[in-house]
């Protein structure tokens, strides 16, 4: 102590001694961390919050969900009710988004279309998740010949043109909501399987998996508890990108007449109906469904991009 004070005095005599009291050592506090520890998920969430575009997408999706759930309820009109006297009316206090050529309320139909689109998107993502993760997880974990065989099959499916297969299946089983989801799932899970397999292949060689194995953990438990949580990031990103492609596929199918059938409403059906009136100036019939398709796709895409950045451990600060 004495020695140090001497030294400081020697260096700069102008500065008073009191400034140089040594900080007391506190052994107990040395171990406490000032910044609260952030789990991977919290950290990612914070990074997502900072991404304005992704948050705008998320906000729009929440709005869309509310619109889909409550839109048809608060609307005074029903989806299928035809009021033939009110044909092709522009948006007004009575019909918020106008009416179509059968006097049906475009607002209610758009909200109903949101239900269909979101349902198709979420179901497709869910089925892809279940099949893709199971398939990819097993292939990646087993490795060797099993992996080779399973991936050969995946490669063949991957080479098939997605929408062409979907169209073919729709032709055979006939149009409808369930068949759309079924058709989308037939080849949709392939991308997910490839991603999960690649991740699992990498992670299964890490030490913590070896430690688990050494303790005699069952394979299914290792996959569930060790491997999957560590592949969750890419899986979630893949899911947010599956949803818009499924929504697009549904709109596409409905647009060419293979999807949702009248009198039900879907954005693709409405866009197709609206297209025929493009020359007669009933712009609202085309505008609202296409606006909603585009905004929804946009929201999911920017959210997916944002999640990709947020969930990437390499970008972690």
């Amino acid at each position: 102590m004495e020695l140090r004070k001497q030294e400081t005095l020697n260096i700069s005599p102008d500065i008073p001694d009191e400034w140089f009291t040594p900080k007391e050592k506190n052994i107990k506090q040395a171990e406490t961390v000032v910044r609260p520890s952030l789990s991977y998920w919290k950290d990612s969430w914070h990074r997502l919050l900072k991404n304005k575009l992704a948050m705008a997408g998320l906000v729009f999706l929440v709005f869309l969900a509310v619109f889909a759930i409550f839109g048809p309820i608060i609307s005074p009109h029903t989806v299928e009710k035809q009021t033939l006297l009110d044909q092709n009316l522009p948006p007004s206090g009575k019909y918020w988004f106008g009416t179509d050529d059968l006097g049906r309320d475009v607002f209610t139909r758009t909200a109903y279309g949101a239900r269909i689109s979101l349902f198709v998107g979420l179901m497709a993502a869910l089925i892809d998740f279940v099949i893709g993760v199971t398939y990819g997880g097993i292939a990646g974990y087993k490795g060797g010949r099993v992996d080779n065989l399973m991936m050969r099959f995946v490669e063949i499916l991957y080479g098939l043109p997605y929408l062409l297969v979907v169209i073919l299946v729709m032709v055979v089983i006939g149009p409808g909501l369930t068949t759309i989801i079924l058709a989308l799932s037939i080849t949709g899970w392939v991308g997910m399987a490839r991603i999960v397999r690649g991740q699992v292949l990498q992670i299964k060689n890490y030490e913590f998996v070896l430690a688990s194995k050494t303790f005699g953990t069952k394979t299914s438990r290792i996959i569930r508890k060790n491997l999957l949580p560590n592949t969750m990031g890419p899986i979630i990103v893949q899911m947010t990108l599956t949803i818009p492609s499924a929504i697009f596929a549904e709109a596409f199918l409905s647009f060419i007449g293979l999807g949702i059938q009248a009198p039900h409403a879907s954005w693709g059906v409405m866009a197709n109906d609206g297209l025929s009136t493009i020359l007669s100036g009933y712009w609202w019939r085309l505008f609202f469904p296409t606006l909603f398709i585009s905004l929804t796709m946009f929201a999911f895409n920017v959210l997916g991009d944002g999640l990709q950045d947020a969930l990437d451990p390499k970008l972690r600060r």
Binding site: I156, G159, L160, P161, Y162, L163, L164, I167, L168, V169, V171, V172, P244, F248, A251, F252, F255, I256, G257, L258, A271, G274, L275, I278, L279, W283, L286, T290, I293, S294, L295, M297, F298, N301, V302, D305
Partner: protein, 310 residues
């Protein structure tokens, strides 16, 4: 090298065979005969019709016949338009669709790469944000929505371009634009991100230090390496353009394959659906092969067929 191509060829043929078999049995699992729907023909006529189209034979025999025909390049007759064969339809529709698809791909690749390169060179600048906003919008707006928007704005409100059909270069502008925006956006984003990565590499610094002109650095040193990921997605982009032609041809009343395909779906003309699907798949598989070849051309380090170290 040769073993790789042989292997590749074999797997292409297997994939194609699986597609043919799959479509054949899918189409034949549809309940009912194509003749007992609208026109109530009498028993004898129906028998004759079925005999004419070989529908009275056992399924496996029909399958064998179909394969035999296919090998000879015959895709069979149309059931709904009795005077035409599937080959006729494809022969008429394919050149048109090919034109549409080829120009679309060309426009998408060129404009996508230019957009991506400019965005990467002006990283985080105004032009970068502008280009990437265009790209996200391009990805989000489905091609049929884009088509309707273009028609509404550039053909109806401001009649610059014709509304539909496929006759002169002027007619081609709107359909190509509508179909190209999506792929263009994907290419632009990919080019940008891989350009950004490449531009930080040491050999770019070396090139700069040597005093090479920026144009030469970008085009000769950076772009060639940055294009690899772009080439990888070309196969799936070709697929999406291909399926995109269905709606675009329908919207613009273009007499291409896609229009026949959609019509045959709506008429449930099974031989036509089958024939077109197989034809489309063959094109796609061929495209994937081309992409592989382009890969080796762009990056000589990738030796096709050698076990690539990942």
């Amino acid at each position: 090298m040769n073993t790789y191509y042989i292997k590749r060829l074999v797997s292409m043929i297997i994939t194609l065979w699986l597609i043919i078999t799959g479509t054949f049995f899918l189409m034949h699992s549809v309940p009912g005969s194509p003749f007992n729907e609208e026109r109530r023909t009498n028993e004898a006529v129906q028998k004759n019709l079925e005999a004419y189209y070989n529908l009275d034979k056992p399924l496996m025999v029909q399958y064998g016949n179909y394969l035999k025909q296919l090998v000879q390049g015959d895709l069979g007759p149309s059931i709904k338009k009795s005077s035409q064969t599937v080959n006729d339809m494809l022969g008429r529709g394919f050149p048109v669709s090919f034109e549409l698809g080829f120009y679309t791909l060309l426009v998408a690749i060129i404009s996508g790469i230019i957009l991506g390169v400019i965005a990467a060179l002006r990283h985080n600048g105004f032009i970068d944000y502008l280009a990437m906003s265009i790209a996200v919008i391009g990805i989000s707006v489905p091609n049929f929505v884009m088509a309707t928007l273009l028609i509404q704005q550039l053909a109806v409100n401001f009649p610059i371009f014709p509304v539909a059909t496929w006759q002169s270069p002027k007619h081609m502008v709107l359909p190509i634009l509508a179909l190209a925006t999506g792929p263009m956006a994907i290419i632009a984003r990919l080019t940008r991100s891989s350009m950004l990565e490449v531009l930080t590499q040491d050999y770019i610094k070396t090139a700069k230090a040597k005093g090479l002109s920026p144009v030469k650095i970008v085009f000769k040193h950076a772009l060639r390496n940055a294009l690899l990921p772009v080439v990888t997605v070309l196969g799936s982009l070709a697929a999406s353009i291909l399926t995109g032609t269905f709606v675009i041809e329908k919207i613009f009343a273009i007499p291409g394959m896609g229009k026949y395909f959609v019509d045959s779906i709506n008429n449930r003309d099974y031989p036509v659906i089958m024939g077109t699907t197989i034809f489309y798949s063959a094109i796609l598989i061929f495209m994937l092969l081309l992409v592989d070849l382009a890969y080796g051309f762009l990056d000589p380090r990738i030796k096709l067929g050698k076990k690539e170290a990942k």
